[in-house]
Subunit: 137 residues, 2 copies
Amino acid sequence: MSNQTRRDFISNTGKVAIAGSTGIFATNNFTGTMAKSMFIHHVYFWLKNPSGETDRQKLIEGLQKLSKVKTIKSFHIGKPADTNRDVIDTSYSISWMLIFDDKAAEESYQTDPIHLNFVETCKDLWQKVVVYDSVDI
Amino acid sequence: MSNQTRRDFISNTGKVAIAGSTGIFATNNFTGTMAKSMFIHHVYFWLKNPSGETDRQKLIEGLQKLSKVKTIKSFHIGKPADTNRDVIDTSYSISWMLIFDDKAAEESYQTDPIHLNFVETCKDLWQKVVVYDSVDI
């Protein structure tokens, strides 16, 4: 990437924007190719058997396979941090955060055979799923 | 960044890992300096006056100032996407997604004067806040 291109990424905060001027996704510590927009698909899973390590591992392995869907730009598989202020929901089992370029990429993910297979294989593991889809302001 | 360093980021999915082998945060379209771990702090705000553009803009401007906290590695300010499956919560007003290197960086953010000023300045704008803190599995 040229210095000129790289300079284009510098935001007012001095962080490096990777989501374009319409979006705000910035970082201090890397440069990257510019994304025109961002679509964040954040899913929280509550396992039927949250204390069962086997079910947790099955879901994690399912998500690792699911991460290979081509339209996924970025992903993170997480668990609740050990923070506990009253506004924090720590009751979920697994966090699955995906970043797509746009809604079309997320819609393609929803119908991707890898995603359909994940749902079929793992749907009996969770009792509840909550999804928040966010786009650039 | 050297090619050797860059190669170190390639994950099994062919995506570029930016959260280290213990975490999973990968992307297809940029290379970056490696983070040892990730702490995702995702906050959803419900405005008292969700139809009021003035309050929405005040919150967005407050978050833009808040983004200057030094320990924030990456951030995104979002709004609900126009998706509407039954598992999707589209009722919130603004999404505030932060990535920190670790819990210590997030704790520092909580007590940063910029954050304390944001809460003091903007706390009357929202009726509800839900936070999900996630760390690498």
